[in-house]
Structures are given as structure tokens and as C-alpha cells.
Amino acid sequence: MSFRTYFELTDQDRSRLGDQVAAQRQRVVERLRSVDRLVAVMSGKGGVGKSYVTAALAQGLMNQVKHGVGVLDADLASPTVARLLDAQGPLRITDEGVHPALGRGDVRVVSTDLLLETGQPLRWREPGGERFVWRGALEVGALREFMSDVVWGKLDLLLVDLPPGADGLDDLAALVSDLGEQGKAQLSALAVTIPSDESQRSVARSMQAALDAGVRLLGVVENMSGYECAECATRRPLFPGDAGAQLARQFGVPLLARLPFTPAGAAAANADSLRLLADTFLGADS
């Protein structure tokens, strides 16, 4: 039997799936036009305080920017940044789209933490079995909608709190790729590590993945960089190693801050360090 193949049929298929996907991506482009800079906060390793740094940086920058700062929590399965910023729902929906929650200092926040029941894991409505096949598509779709369908308004900076690993940055880079050169200029990444050798090796992979994806590296923040003793006001070692400095040397980027672990009122005790981080960050991102 002989018959024509897909590209030999010249009529459009009515589904126009390609056009539907293109329209989705165009909405991302349109929405990000009002965002000056997009900064991915990343780490190859979990538990290094990436969300803490994101939240602290967002708050620290709010006083230094003209229009505003947004935080997109891309860690869909383990969202924490909304809580750190004390952002609460419900998310208001108008014809313009979904309005972000306002966190401390009026930081605009969108996170699955605002959508999920307390204590419930991320679950999708789907037939059982073979979930892994489409979970990736659903998660990228959610990330796309967090960018395209949220009324971010005019922002100087949108911080994207990525999940551990390198996949999140790849997805983000793909989603903004339609912005072309403008998107490349808009998107940059900030790496967060703890001092340990294990963290250094893991975060190095993420930083290399960022470079491979053509994403500019702004610098490194070393979190839990020693223990701030409240009684004797000295900083003592917490983890062995100097991953922050090593990563900065290896990738030729600045070590933007070394934030100590402060057990009581971490954000307040770290206020000076965070102010410094915000200042240094603005310098690195200019």
C-alpha cells in the first residue's frame, strides 16, 4: 500500500498543536516583557539554604529597586520560600491573570505552597501507573504558567528559586529561549553552596550546566559558613571546607557573601550580611 506521509499533506490539522504550544510560549514572552532581570537561585545540592537566600535577597533588594521584586518558587515539590516570606493566599484571579501573593516587604510571590493543602505532597490528577512519563511535562507546564499567567507587573527582578539539581535551570532557559538575545541578557544564575567538599562538587555540576545552557553566572553565596556564637560573638567553623571560594575561583565569578548559621532569629542576626549581599548582588548584576 502506498500513501502520503505527514508533511506531504498540506492542509493544517485542526488541532494545530504546534500553534497551541507556540501561543503558550508567546504568553511567557509577553509577560516577561515587564521584568527587567530574571535570576535563577540554584544549587546542585539540597538543604544548603537556597530558599533562605532567595527570600533574604528578595527582602534586601526591595528597598533598593525602583519597581519591585518577585519570587517564583520553582521547587514545586518542596516549596518553602512563600513561608519564609510570610506570603499567603488565596491567589486572586482576574481577567489579567493570577495575581501573586504579597510577602514581607511587598515581595510578589507565587509558589505551590500557596496551592497545596498543608502537609500534602505535590500530586497531579492522573491515571495511576507510568506517572513518571508525564510528570516532567506537567511540572514544566506549571513552571511555564507561573511565568506566563501571573500578573507580575513591572519588576526590576524576578528571583526563581530552583529545585536542587540542574534540570530546573535547563527548563527555565528553554522557557525564556523565545526571548532570544533579550532573554539571554535577562537570565542569569546565582549559586548557593555550603562550605563542604560534597557541596562544592555538586554545585559545580549545576554551575557547569548553567554555562552549558548559556546562562550567565553572577556569583556564589556560601551559606552556613560557620556558626555565629551569640554568647561570645565569634564565628566558629560548622562544616569543613571552603566551597564558596573554590567555586568562585573555578568559575571566575565573585564570592558574593559568606553567611553564618545563626540559631536565634537567623534573618535578623544576619541582617548586615544580607544587606551586604544585596549590595554586592546589585553590583554583580549590573
Binding site: S15, Q20, L91, V98, L115, L116, T118, R125, G141, D149
Partner: protein
């Protein structure tokens, strides 16, 4: 996806979509030359693969709603979203009436997605000049729009 009537060497056209609510999906295509009709039947996994991309087989008749994929696929909490009613000064219509039976049926839709579903049904009915949404209208819209389980 395109369908070819091999006998006539003619591209078949999309005619109808069916989502029976069991996770499967059907789409009927017809040959404009000989009238032959075929149905493509997708199992739940195939249907989900398409759904996960946030696209509609047969094309979209209404604009995509804000966070449509998240609201229709995520198992979220009831009070996650607040659908603001249209601003009366904006001139935007408040949409068709809802019969008590259709309101009752709508109330069974999870609150996480209910506002979106109500808006979609309203826009669909309004486009067709339907003044009141009844369960029969909901059935028709559901099939036409592919609102699985809504």
C-alpha cells in the same frame, strides 16, 4: 496529527471530540470526499500525555484560562484561588444565568478548579447566545471543550 483517507488520498477533517470521563479520549475524523468516518481512541496514558502539554486535540474554541493546566491537573486546596467577579464598570458581561440544577452540579466540582470551570462554561454558553446554563448545556460544553471530569 493528521488522518488520510487512503482510498481517496484526501486529508480527513476533525469532526468531534469525546471525553467519556474514564480518562480515555476519542476524536472522530471524516473524509470530505467519500464521507468515510474514523474514530481515534486514546487510552488514559495517551490522553494524559496530550493533557500534560496543556493542549487540546481538535483545537481550542475558547482562550486558555489563567493557570489552566495547574488548576485542572494539580490536586490543590479548596481555597487556593479567589476568582474575582468582573468589574461592573468594565462593561464585561456577568454571563448567562445558572439553573439551580446546574449550580448543584457545579458545586460538586473541586473548589480548586470550580471558578475556572464556571467561567469556561459561561463563556462557551455566551458565545452561543445561551441565556441559561442547564445540566444539558454543561454536558454539551463539556464534550465540546474536553473538560475531563468537570
Amino acid at each position: 496529527m493528521k488522518f488520510l483517507c487512503v482510498e481517496c488520498d484526501t486529508q480527513m477533517t476533525f469532526e468531534e471530540r469525546k471525553e467519556p470521563g474514564d480518562g480515555t479520549f476519542g476524536a472522530a475524523f471524516g473524509c470530505p470526499s467519500c464521507g468515510r468516518r474514523v474514530a481515534m481512541l486514546a487510552n488514559p496514558m495517551e490522553a494524559q500525555l496530550v493533557g500534560a502539554l496543556g493542549v487540546k486535540i481538535g483545537g481550542r474554541t475558547l482562550a486558555e484560562q489563567p493557570m489552566e493546566l495547574v488548576r485542572s491537573k494539580l490536586v490543590g486546596k479548596d481555597d487556593a484561588f479567589h476568582d474575582a467577579p468582573p468589574d461592573p464598570s468594565s462593561g464585561v458581561s456577568r454571563g448567562p444565568r445558572w439553573s439551580p440544577e446546574s449550580e448543584a452540579r457545579l458545586s460538586r466540582v473541586p473548589n480548586f478548579v470550580r471558578g475556572m470551570v464556571k467561567k469556561v462554561y459561561g463563556e462557551w454558553a455566551e458565545e452561543r447566545g445561551i441565556a441559561e446554563i442547564t445540566p444539558a448545556v454543561m454536558d454539551e460544553a463539556r464534550e465540546d471543550l474536553g473538560l475531563e471530569g468537570m
